[in-house]
Symmetry: C2
Subunit: 144 residues, 2 copies
């Protein structure tokens, strides 16, 4: 009784473009790309398509600095993300990597962690190597 979920051009092209990106992309960025490559498409449609994909499990939300939500093409299996705050590239991290931590938190704090927010932001190998000596962005230890 849920929803007949119709397969439209827009839903298809949004999903395809997101999958092609293989990195975190905001709704606005997707909109720009699609307008450039396929002509008019409503921004609201992008948001709705992304929301549908997140609900399906084929996409996942990640937070980006500046209060912007970005999206990543995803497999429905339960896993987590390593989001590079420099190049926006995303790596998947299996659920098992977190298992010990989640167990410890639950055992020692009685706290049931919700996986949804377990994305790890940081600097990927590639970006790290790109900044050998002089650090442009410093450690930025306690920043967002």
């Amino acid at each position: 009784m849920a929803s007949p979920r119709r397969l439209t051009k827009q839903q298809t092209v949004v999903a395809a473009t997101l999958a092609l990106a293989s990195r975190a992309v905001s709704a606005q960025e997707l909109h720009e790309r699609l307008v450039a490559k396929r002509g008019r498409i409503g921004l609201a449609t992008i948001y709705r398509a992304l929301e549908a994909q997140v609900a399906e499990g084929t996409a996942s939300r990640v937070e980006r600095t500046g209060h912007v939500t970005a999206y990543v093409a995803c497999v429905p299996e339960h896993h987590h993300h390593l989001v590079c705050t420099s190049c926006q590239r995303v790596e998947d991290l299996s659920e098992v990597a977190f298992a010990p931590l989640i167990r410890a938190v639950r055992r020692r704090h009685g706290f049931q962690v919700d996986h949804a927010a377990l994305d790890l932001y940081g600097i990927c190998q590639t970006c790290h190597d790109a900044h050998p000596a002089g650090r442009p962005g410093a450690p930025s230890s306690h920043r967002r």
Copy 2:
């Protein structure tokens, strides 16, 4: 050369109110409380005071559903948070609990995790006990 950091009534009362809350509070919520208890105070002042505290290390940002940033009184030492998405209460989690995971991620993915986003959202012991048969809020497993 940094900033002379002046001690004003506003900075003091914001810090005190945040510390008193012992849970995640948004800038808007703090503003409402302070207006109610102490008369006029600018919303922008709240934001500035909170930003200053975050920079100092005496407060930390956490994300709340609906694209809202909430703040928690904090100790400057490096640690992480368990944020209950039901009652907004926050527990501190020592850095050491994450060490093995961070090391593994770095070793296996070459990914340097930035601690700032390492807050864990979920259901605390108290809220979990308050829903025995699991009905009102359900697990909400894959949601934000």
